[in-house]
Structure formats: structure tokens, C-alpha cells
């Protein structure tokens, strides 16, 4: 009776074994030809995505650092240019000052020399005048004494002397 119940339910040993074998074959085929390759590919894809993201991050960082470096260089160049310009301006200024000083000194020296020359000329002229004036005075006195008391004569004498003196001076 128990056995009949089992068959009524459908228990059948060969079927059971067939299902077991069937499942194991399915398991083997799926594991070898489907799960393993697919899992490997999923892993590979995960790996690839992770690498790509990392590479993208790295590239972004590199770009940022490159940008920074370029900015640095530009700033540096600008600073350098400024420095060169400053130097140039300073040099020009110094050159100008030097040249002006030199010119002034030369002018001063020239003026000084001219002044000294003039002084010398004047001194010698004065000397000369003084010398000839003495002579003139003596000559005039002689003449005055010679033709005394003739007022007009005196005057004309004096005028003559003076005129001579003038001529002398001019000469």
C-alpha cells in the first residue's frame, strides 16, 4: 500500500536519476561555457571601468598641474620682463645723469677757463693802460708846463691828450 502511494505521487527512481544527471550536465555546461566566461568578462569590465576612471582622474590632475605650471611660467616671464624694463630704464636714467653731469662739468670748465682768460686779458690791458696812462699824464704835464696860461691852448692840449689816450686805449 505504501509503495502504491509513492507511485500515485509519481515517485520514479529512473526519473529521479535522470533529473539529477540532467541538472549536473546543465550545471557543468553553464559553468564552463557561460558563467565562467561571463564572470571573467564582468570582472574585466569592472577593472577596465576602474582603470578608465583612474586614468581620467590622473589626466585631470595632470591638466590642472600643467595649467598651474604654465601660469607660473607666464607670471615668471612677466616678472622677468618687468625686471628687464626696470633695468633698462634705470640704465638710461643713469646714462642721462652721467652725460648731463659730464656736460655740465665741461661747460663749467669751459666757462672757468674763459673767465680766467678774460681776467688775464683784463689784467694785462689794465697794466698796459696803467703804463700808457702814466706816460700820457707825464706828456700832458710837460705840454701844460710848456704852453702855460693859454686857457684855450690848455683845453685843446687836454683834449688832445685825452684824444690820444682814447686812441691809445682803443688801440
Amino acid at each position: 500500500m505504501v509503495l502504491l502511494g509513492v507511485t500515485e505521487l509519481g515517485i520514479n527512481l529512473p526519473s529521479l536519476i535522470a533529473y539529477l544527471v540532467n541538472f549536473i550536465i546543465l550545471l557543468g555546461i553553464l559553468t564552463l561555457f557561460a558563467y565562467k566566461p561571463l564572470m571573467r568578462m564582468l570582472d574585466e569590465r569592472t577593472e577596465r571601468i576602474r582603470e578608465s576612471l583612474e586614468a581620467a582622474d590622473r589626466a585631470r590632475e595632470e591638466a590642472a598641474s600643467a595649467h598651474e605650471a604654465i601660469q607660473e611660467q607666464i607670471t615668471e616671464a612677466r616678472r622677468e620682463g618687468q625686471r628687464i624694463m626696470d633695468q633698462t630704464r634705470e640704465a638710461a636714467e643713469r646714462f642721462r645723469t652721467e652725460e648731463m653731469d659730464k656736460a655740465r662739468q665741461e661747460a663749467e670748465a669751459f666757462v672757468e677757463r674763459a673767465r680766467a682768460d678774460i681776467q688775464r686779458e683784463r689784467d694785462s690791458a689794465l697794466q698796459e693802460v696803467r703804463a700808457s696812462f702814466g706816460d700820457l699824464a707825464i706828456t700832458a704835464a710837460e705840454r701844460v708846463i710848456r704852453s702855460s696860461l693859454d686857457r684855450t691852448a690848455h683845453e685843446s692840449l687836454i683834449a688832445q691828450v685825452l684824444e690820444e689816450g682814447e686812441t691809445l686805449r682803443r688801440g
Binding site: N12, Y19, I24, I29, L30, L38, L42, E44, R48
Partner: protein, 318 residues
């Protein structure tokens, strides 16, 4: 792409057509026949619990009562003997499921590429779904190692249940007097041998991992005799707990078997009976339900296997 106005019209026509079909089905089904005396659209179905033999033909005819037995006007259906060898309709359907599964997965694996197409995307979603489910129970390391068995159980139960909803499961069969005596293929879940086979595999798988991870000490869980040998009376309780553990381990096989068998068989009977009562449209709701039941049974079978496995490989703290 239909415009929205056209889509609305289509929806309306489909809806009206469905309602009309439902009414026609109601009138000419068994319910309408009883109420209005109309001719029945379908014969009253015969429900057989055990699977029927298909090959060899002699075995089939013998068990379907198709042989002319002396002294009897009509043969009667007898179940296959417990050790009788025959290809049953449920076995055929399990082969069909197996072939479909192999085609789906092997084609997806053959044509795999790092940038997936739609088909590969679908298969990958299924695989990652099961892997994620297993990881949530066992953790990623063990989930990967046990994935093939868990996934195969899951997909086999799922596809077995879903494929059985295809119409040719219902209309292909061996007839006598215009009546289907035996279907050519029948959902393998309705054959108790399949749930039993899966339950045994799940059992062996769990015990194998129990021994593999915990070594011979795994047996201590079932034979907690240490205290008895040291003469402590409380050892009796430990021994009894061990006995309970052992029993529950074995009872799982039975519960696994009858849960799947019961659900699949009930689903089949429900589809057949609703089709008999109201031939059109009404079955669609049952099909929807059966899709859900198939998924639930697959999740339960795989999920319980995972849970039992996780219990088996965990050392209990004393």
C-alpha cells in the same frame, strides 16, 4: 510609433475586444454552460498527479489505458512503477528547459563583448542579480565560489516554471477519442522527482560546503556527545539538540521537495481549471500570477539553499 490619439484608439479597441472575448468565454465555458445550457467549449480536463510515460510507446499505451485489455471496455490510467524506466512528459520538458537555458547563456557568453548589447545586457543583469543576492547572504567571496550551483538552481526553477506557460504545453499530446490522454510535455515542477532531485542537490551541496569549511568538526553540530561522555546530565540536552539539528537537516529535503512540487502542480491545475471554466482572457490573470509564483519559487529555492549554506559554514560561538 503610433500617435497618442491612435494609441488611445488601439487601447480602446483592445479593451473592448478583451471584454467581449471574456464574455464569450464566460458564456461558452463551464460556468456559462451550467447557467445557460450552452455547449461547453472545452471538455472537462483530467488531472493526473504523476507524470505520464511518453517513450517507449508500449509503456505509454499501457499506462494510459490505451491497450485493449481483455474483459475491459475502457482502459484506465495507471502511474509509472517506482523503478520502471521510461521517458516521461515532465522529463521532456526538463530537457526543453535545459536546452533553452544552454542556448540563452552559451550564446550570450559566445557573443560577449566589453560593451554589451541588449541580449547580453539582459543575461548579465540576471547573472548579476543572482550574484548580488548570493553576496548579500554569503558575502562576495563565498558567493562567487558557490555561484554556479545557486544560479543554476535559480534559473532552472525559474525557466522551468515560465516555459510551462507556453501554449504548446497545453495542446500537444496523445489523444484517444479526440481527448488528450497525455501531454507531450508537462512542466517538470509537477513531477515530484524534479523537486526531489533539486532538493537532494541542494542538500549535498550544503553538506559538502559544511565539511569543506569546518572539516570533520562539522559533525559536532549533529552529535553533541562530549558532555555525556564526561558524565554531565546536561549533555542529554546537547545530544537532543544535535538530534534535532540532524532531523531538520533531513526534513529540509522533504520541505524543499513539496514546496516546489505543490506550487508548480497547483499552478498547472489552476491554469487548466480556469481555462475550462472561462476559456478566454480570464487565464491571463492566472498567467500573471504564475509568472510571479515561478519567480518566487526560484528565489525561495535558491535563497533557502543560500541561507542553509551560510548556516552550515558558520562556526557557532559557544
Amino acid at each position: 510609433m503610433p500617435t497618442s490619439a491612435l494609441a488611445k484608439k488601439l487601447l480602446l479597441f483592445t479593451g473592448v475586444g478583451m471584454v467581449v472575448l471574456l464574455l464569450v468565454g464566460f458564456i461558452f465555458g463551464a460556468v456559462g454552460s451550467a447557467m445557460f445550457g450552452t455547449d461547453m467549449f472545452l471538455e472537462k480536463p483530467e488531472i493526473h498527479l504523476p507524470p505520464q510515460a511518453i517513450f517507449p510507446a508500449s509503456t505509454r499505451d499501457e499506462h494510459l489505458g490505451l491497450l485493449n485489455v481483455e474483459g475491459e471496455t475502457e482502459g484506465h490510467v495507471t502511474p509509472l512503477g517506482a523503478t520502471e524506466i521510461a521517458v516521461t512528459n515532465t522529463l521532456l520538458s526538463s530537457w526543453f528547459t535545459t536546452i533553452v537555458l544552454i542556448l540563452i547563456f552559451v550564446i550570450a557568453a559566445r557573443r560577449r563583448s566589453l560593451v554589451p548589447g541588449r541580449f547580453q545586457g539582459l543575461v548579465e543583469t540576471m547573472i548579476e542579480g543572482v550574484l548580488g543576492f548570493a553576496s548579500s547572504v554569503l558575502g562576495p567571496e563565498m558567493a562567487r565560489r558557490t555561484f554556479p550551483i545557486v544560479a543554476t538552481i535559480f534559473f532552472f526553477v525559474l525557466f522551468n516554471a515560465w516555459l510551462a506557460l507556453l501554449p504548446f504545453y497545453q495542446f500537444l499530446g496523445f489523444t484517444q477519442d479526440g481527448e488528450i490522454k497525455a501531454h507531450l510535455i508537462r512542466s517538470a515542477g509537477t513531477d515530484i522527482n524534479l523537486p526531489l532531485a533539486l532538493a537532494l542537490i541542494s542538500f549535498v551541496f550544503v553538506e559538502y560546503w559544511g565539511f569543506r569549511v569546518r572539516g570533520i568538526g562539522y559533525l559536532k553540530k549533529f552529535f553533541q556527545l562530549g558532555k555525556i561522555f564526561r558524565g554531565k546530565p546536561s549533555g542529554l540536552i546537547d545530544a537532543f539538540v544535535g538530534f534535532l539539528e540532524l532531523t531538520s537537516e533531513l526534513v529540509r529535503v522533504v520541505s524543499f521537495t513539496f514546496r516546489l512540487f505543490g506550487n508548480m502542480t497547483a499552478g498547472e491545475i489552476l491554469v487548466v481549471m480556469i481555462t475550462f471554466l472561462v476559456p478566454f482572457v480570464a487565464t491571463q490573470f492566472v498567467f500573471g500570477l504564475e509568472l510571479l509564483v515561478g519567480l518566487i519559487q526560484a528565489v525561495i529555492f535558491a535563497g533557502l539553499t543560500l541561507v542553509f549554506l551560510s548556516v552550515a559554514i558558520t562556526r557557532e560561538e559557544h
